[in-house]
């Protein structure tokens, strides 16, 4: 039984790894393994949750042995496809070479060791937090695990809650509840270990994604620094351990951001990273409603940046691939929203008068500015609080940014998408029918946290190197 449960835990990650490897531009399976594995955490859990939702609709929430057999069969089939693909050799260079200075092999080994030591120490801290509070935060048990209980205990009546609507938040998407319910079905028992494990996977999947993406696109030093800053953000680790959906959402936003930057590094005419970015954006929307906002923001941001950078033909040529990744997940979301979800609290009533109230603008702007420096709860982290926000802001202000023209579109897309998402959050606060102070106090830090890993990625992509770059001689 324990073995089956373990397989059920690991199977989504394996499925994600096969999926990412099938789409990965480089056919050699051992290349970019850390990057592919980190992307696999989110891709696997996200895609399996969509599959589980389809099974739920087809089977009436029953026949789980058959479901797990189907999962295994699909995984085996995909693995066979992957092996067949890997056998076709293709020695053409897949990526443009990296221009950033790389450390020596010895330094690389030291950095990797330091990264792993930090990561294991933070995993231990996260597990201690999770075990001390196995039900997680109020939002975790009150929203996500509550829905998971309906899915696990409710049988064919899993959606009874929808008829009651607000305040049960029945319009929230089901990626997390489905993943938790699937884990309980696999374990055969309702155990806190499942949501805790999912929370830990997404938290440290984000850390590994940040490290491996920057190590590949820049160098290991930047990867280490960015991931150390993320691991040194207490709110992020605590939030992940307390099973809140903001961390999985942050993972998918980061994944989309990374994949758009990977697209710009490609030397071959392939749009596989953009297609995977489409999947990541869809899964962000399948995780939280804020993900829908991010999807709109990144679509608009990509249109603007690629059109300005390379012309609209370039945007037209990559967009079908983005949509090919997005549409299957979006179809699941639309099915859920149209047939099973209750009304959204903003649909039930919004405060249009808020748009014409200057004091609301002032209050929200003031809180945004203040919380931008405090949302990570750095002040609670040890005797020497390590707040990276002023340091990064100061460094950027003094030294500016350093990007190659080829990389500009990906970084600009991500940066513009984050700015638009922040503007979207601002508007939601303006329009909220609930008490503004309560909303901002309870939600603002979490919204910043959703964008934090991506912002770190963009900063460490764009920061100029502190090492003076060798200037080419005129005769060169």
């Amino acid at each position: 039984m324990i073995l089956i449960s373990l397989i059920a835990f690991v199977l989504p990650i394996l499925a994600g790894l096969v999926f990412v490897s099938l789409l990965w531009p480089d056919r050699r399976w051992q290349e970019n393994l850390a990057l592919k594995t980190s992307l696999a955490v989110g891709a696997g859990y996200g895609i399996i949750s969509c599959l589980f939702f389809i099974w739920l609709l087809c089977s009436g929430n029953a026949h789980y042995s058959a479901y797990f057999a189907t999962e295994c069969a699909l995984l085996a089939l995909s693995a066979a496809l992957l092996i067949a693909r890997a056998r076709k050799r293709d020695d053409r260079p897949v990526w443009h070479p990296n221009a950033a200075p790389s450390p020596t092999p010895r330094t690389r080994l030291l950095i990797l060791g330091a990264f792993l030591l930090l990561m294991f120490s933070r995993i231990a801290a996260g597990l201690i937090e999770a075990v001390g509070q196995p039900s997680g935060d109020a939002d975790a048990w009150g929203t996500w695990n509550f829905r998971a209980r309906f899915l696990f205990r409710g049988g064919p009546n899993w959606n009874d809650l929808a008829q009651y609507g607000y305040p049960h938040q029945t319009d929230y998407p089901l990626m997390l509840p489905l993943s938790v319910a699937r884990g309980w079905h696999a374990a055969g028992v309702e155990t806190a270990a499942v949501p805790i494990a999912i929370g830990i996977f997404f938290t440290f999947g984000s850390v590994l994604l940040l490290f491996s993406a920057l190590s590949f696109l820049r160098n290991q030093v930047r990867g280490f620094l960015a991931s150390a800053v993320l691991m040194g953000t207490p709110f992020f680790i605590i939030h992940g351990a307390r099973q809140l959906a903001d961390v999985p959402l942050a993972f998918f936003i980061l994944a989309a951001t990374v994949l758009f930057c990977l697209q710009d590094r490609l030397a071959t005419r392939s749009f596989a990273p953009v297609a995977m970015a489409g999947v990541a954006c869809g899964l962000a929307a399948w995780t939280k409603n804020e993900g829908l906002l991010f999807l709109g923001c990144i679509f608009l941001a990509r249109l603007v940046t690629v059109t300005l950078n390379r012309g609209w033909r370039s945007w037209l040529s990559e967009t079908p691939c983005f949509l090919a990744g997005l549409v299957p997940v979006l179809a699941v979301i639309i099915c859920f929203k149209a047939c099973f979800a209750g009304p959204n609290d903003l649909q039930l009533g919004h405060n249009l008068a808020g748009l014409a109230t200057p004091s609301r603008y002032y209050y929200i702007a003031k809180e945004f500015a203040r919380r931008a420096f405090t949302f990570g709860q750095w002040q609670e982290f040890g005797p020497v609080p390590f707040n990276p926000v002023p340091l990064l802001a100061g460094y950027l202000f003094c030294f500016g940014i350093s990007l190659r023209p080829r990389e500009a579109a990906g970084v600009a897309t991500s940066f513009l998408a984050l700015i638009l998402a922040l503007a979207g959050y601002f508007c939601v606060f303006l329009l909220t029918p609930h008490d503004l102070v309560f909303q901002v106090t309870t939600a603002c830090d979490r919204l910043f946290l959703q964008l934090w890993p991506s912002l770190l990625f963009i900063c460490f992509m764009a920061l100029p190197s502190p090492i003076a770059q060798p200037q080419p001689l005129k005769s060169d």
Binding site: A99, P103, L117, Q133, P134, G142, N145, R153, V221, G382
Partner: protein
């Protein structure tokens, strides 16, 4: 020679190495006391998790209730209160969570009503005041009630 290769061969300047070690220590050291001191507290913290303890409290009642439908709710204290883990909770919301997939409504109108009392004595007063009838008492002040006269 590709850009940056000379740097790769030469390694990083000392100031960069010192900076990296500093960042490493700034992230590692504050977290260590948490790891070293907290494992001993696991056993202390776990039973106090208010959701886990209330889940256990409602376990017998859950078995006695139907698997689907709506039940009412009545209690002798405020709906939002501290529950021993340092946090303030809505006891009504926790009850809803514990009894899922039943729907719990904060009312005595449904046919079956969940009584959630601090003690049997305190519960008996509320039951009499609301003209309810006890169908069954469970442990720790939990009971199943029906409307009076049924």
């Amino acid at each position: 020679m590709p850009e940056g290769e000379s740097l790769m061969n030469a390694g990083y300047p000392a100031r960069i190495q010192v900076g990296l070690v500093l960042v490493f220590l700034l992230v590692l050291l504050p977290g260590l006391p948490q790891i070293v001191s907290k494992p001993g507290e696991w056993k202390r913290v776990r039973p106090e998790d208010s959701i886990v303890s209330r889940d256990r409290r409602f376990a017998q009642l859950r078995d006695a209730l139907p698997k689907r439908g709506t039940v009412g709710y009545v209690t002798d204290g405020p709906l939002v209160r501290p529950l021993g883990d340092g946090r303030v909770h809505s006891v009504f919301q926790i009850t809803q969570y514990c009894l899922a997939p039943l729907i719990v409504v904060n009312s005595t109108e449904p046919e079956m009503i969940v009584g959630d009392f601090s003690s049997m004595e305190s519960g008996a007063q509320v039951i009499a005041r609301q003209h309810l009838v006890v169908a069954r008492w469970f442990e720790q002040g939990v009971c199943l009630l029906r409307k009076g006269g049924q």
